[in-house]
């Protein structure tokens, strides 16, 4: 083997690895480093403050609310999206032309910019003239404030996220359902297995890799929610929809507290890291692999 043969693979992976190192790996360490400093971006000196930023963050009621907002948003979005999508997949899993149209319709929001969706839903959720208040009015409900009131603002954002995400999730579930061999269903129906038993004992275990995949994808997506908040609520009213990424954005770009914002970034990094590890540890044992 010549020297070139040894070096060739490295030269092939180098461009990608350089990009990742400069724009992903190094920034992680740089962010951790910055989190120990008090720095406003403009001043030439950074002053070392140790773990003070973290102490400040965790004792700050505003930040605690941001943490609980993010958690609540993630739990609601992930369970609703995954659960409803599974039901829709069981219903829509047909090859028929009409089902194809329905699948296309529910999928379409997935490829639309979050800017468009946020603007559109801000209008739909307008308290005075919005379409949503008209729709719930048909069922006898009074007008709701949706994004304008802290009691409904977070759930309004969840509704938008579920509306956007459900089509993609449903089609992934349908792909999962279609990869289950047909003879397994036949065996179950020959055994006169009841639908519920077939579902819990057969479909659910066979689908568990798909469920696992979707829960992780949805969680990572929910934790980085930004666009809908930036456009629809700006974190308000009274901080009720402020979440981690938006909070970091506010402190970094509006108040120029770089160290403080970096510390919040490190906390987000730790949370995402822990969740990923927990999921891999807990679910990898239970997930059914073929």
């Amino acid at each position: 083997m010549t020297l070139w043969h040894k070096l060739r693979p490295y030269s092939m992976v180098a461009p990608a690895i350089i990009v990742f190192s400069v724009f992903f790996i190094y920034p992680i360490f740089y962010m951790i480093y910055l989190s120990f400093f008090d720095w406003n971006f403009v001043s030439p000196t950074k002053s070392f403050v140790g773990i003070q930023n973290f102490v400040d963050l965790l004792t700050e009621p505003e930040f605690r609310q941001v943490l609980s907002n993010t958690t609540l948003y993630t739990i609601l979005t992930v369970t609703l999206t995954t659960g409803l999508s599974l039901l829709l997949a069981l219903w829509l899993n047909r090859g028929n032309f009409f089902y194809g149209i329905v699948q296309g319709a529910i999928f379409s929001p997935h490829i639309i910019s979050l800017v468009s969706i946020s603007l559109l839903w801000s209008w739909i959720m307008d308290p005075e003239y919005g379409l949503l208040n008209w729709v719930i009015g048909l069922f006898g409900f009074g007008k709701l404030q949706w994004l304008a009131h802290p009691s409904t603002s977070l759930i309004s954002l969840v509704i938008v996220a579920v509306w956007k995400g459900i089509g993609y999730n449903t089609l992934v579930f349908i792909a999962g359902l279609q990869s289950i061999p047909a003879d397994i269903y036949e065996a179950a129906s020959l055994d006169r297995s009841r639908p519920w038993t077939t579902f819990t004992k057969l479909i659910l275990p066979m689908l568990s890799p798909t469920i696992f995949f979707l829960v992780i994808i949805n969680m990572i997506g929910s934790f980085q929610v930004f666009e809908t908040i930036a456009i629809m609520t700006q974190g308000g009213p009274v901080n009720s929809t402020n979440t981690l990424v938006y909070y970091i954005y506010q402190y970094g770009f509006r108040f120029f507290k770089i160290g403080y914002a970096s510390a919040a970034g490190v906390i987000l990094l730790v949370i995402v890291g822990i969740l990923t590890i927990i999921y891999f540890k807990l679910l990898s044992n239970r997930v059914h692999y073929r």
């Binding site: 060739r8 693979p9 490295y10 092939m12 992976v13 461009p15 990608a16 690895i17 990742f20 190192s21 400069v22 724009f23 992903f24 790996i25 920034p27 992680i28 740089y30 962010m31 910055l34 089902y99 194809g100 329905v102 699948q103 296309g104 319709a105 529910i106 999928f107 929001p109 490829i111 639309i112 910019s113 800017v115 468009s116 603007l119 559109l120 209008w123 005075e128 003239y129 379409l131 008209w134 009015g137 509306w163 089509g167 993609y168 089609l171 992934v172 792909a175 798909t210 980085q224 930004f226 666009e227 930036a230 456009i231 970091i248 970094g252 770089i258 970096s262 970034g265 987000l268 995402v272």
Partner: protein
């Protein structure tokens, strides 16, 4: 199935389509209304006298031709650079044994797990040191490679049989020729899938251009649309929805023409 069950099923399907299509129809309807017409409750679906001028007003709130050009330049450049970096890297990871490949692939997987929303602040500071804020390069370079693309393409390269490669090598073909002429064409469906995925993602992106730009030099279409509200004022939903349609219509049109293919690209290849 009995007739009643069929009807219930059909009604359910129709309701489902309505839930997902109605918002877009509502957007179109609003975009053609006068401002007083948007303030009628209960809402009316058909505008009395379609106001096409809303589209001109929306277009005139900013340099939209410039925004569109920026969107094209940035999305296409990202796509080309990604192709140039992910094809060789994924091929090396799939086909060569080399010391440290496990570690380097680990770097790729970590990148796959880290959302860019998590590290935008340090990257912003980095780009500001390089004097790349408010430039096209600043919006392109961070995405010059894609961990997702490497992951996807590596799987595809792995599935190509060894016999084919051996046969080509016996013919004394140069390795790079084998890659360009034989291997890359074989993974073309995956490349097309990835290209679609990447282009739509960066065409739609709002977060990165918002964070990395403070003026119109490198700003893209989504920023321009979101800014209409600042120019026209809060509550001018008719102008805002007209602008929004400029952003949504091309994607929805392409989608309705090649729905099957796009869905397959987004969904099925990602799962397997």
């Amino acid at each position: 199935m009995t007739l009643i069950l069929r009807l219930v099923n059909a009604a359910g399907l129709l309701l489902l389509v309505l839930i997902f299509a109605m918002p877009f129809v509502w957007m179109l309807s609003t975009s053609l209304k006068t401002l007083p017409e948007t303030m009628i409750f209960p809402p009316e679906w058909i505008p009395r006298h379609p106001v096409w001028k809303n589209y001109i007003d929306a277009w005139n709130t900013g340099p939209f031709l410039h925004y569109i050009m920026n969107s094209v330049i940035i999305s296409v450049s990202i796509l080309v650079l990604q192709m140039l970096t992910i094809i060789p890297a994924s091929y090396a990871f799939a086909r060569y044994k080399f010391a440290g490949s496990g570690f380097l692939f680990g770097v790729v997987m970590v990148t796959l797990m880290i959302p860019e929303q998590l590290i935008f602040l340090p990257v912003y500071l980095e780009l500001s040191t390089f004097k790349l804020l408010n430039t096209h390069l600043g919006l392109i370079l961070p995405f010059a490679s894609s961990a997702f693309g490497i992951f996807l393409l590596r799987q595809a390269f792995r599935q190509i049989s060894d016999e084919l490669l051996e046969a080509a090598r016996l013919d004394q073909a140069k390795e790079w020729k084998i890659i360009v002429r034989i291997m890359v064409p074989m993974v073309k469906p995956v490349l097309v899938t990835f290209a679609l995925f990447s282009f739509i993602a960066h065409w739609n992106d709002y977060f990165w251009p918002l964070v990395m730009t403070t003026n119109d030099v490198a700003r893209t279409l989504p920023i321009g649309i979101a800014k209409i509200r600042e120019v026209e004022g809060v509550g001018t939903w008719n102008i805002l929805m007209a602008g929004n349609l400029i952003l949504v219509a091309p994607i929805l049109a392409v989608f309705s023409l090649s729905q099957r293919h796009i869905i397959k690209a987004f969904v099925y290849n990602g799962v397997k």
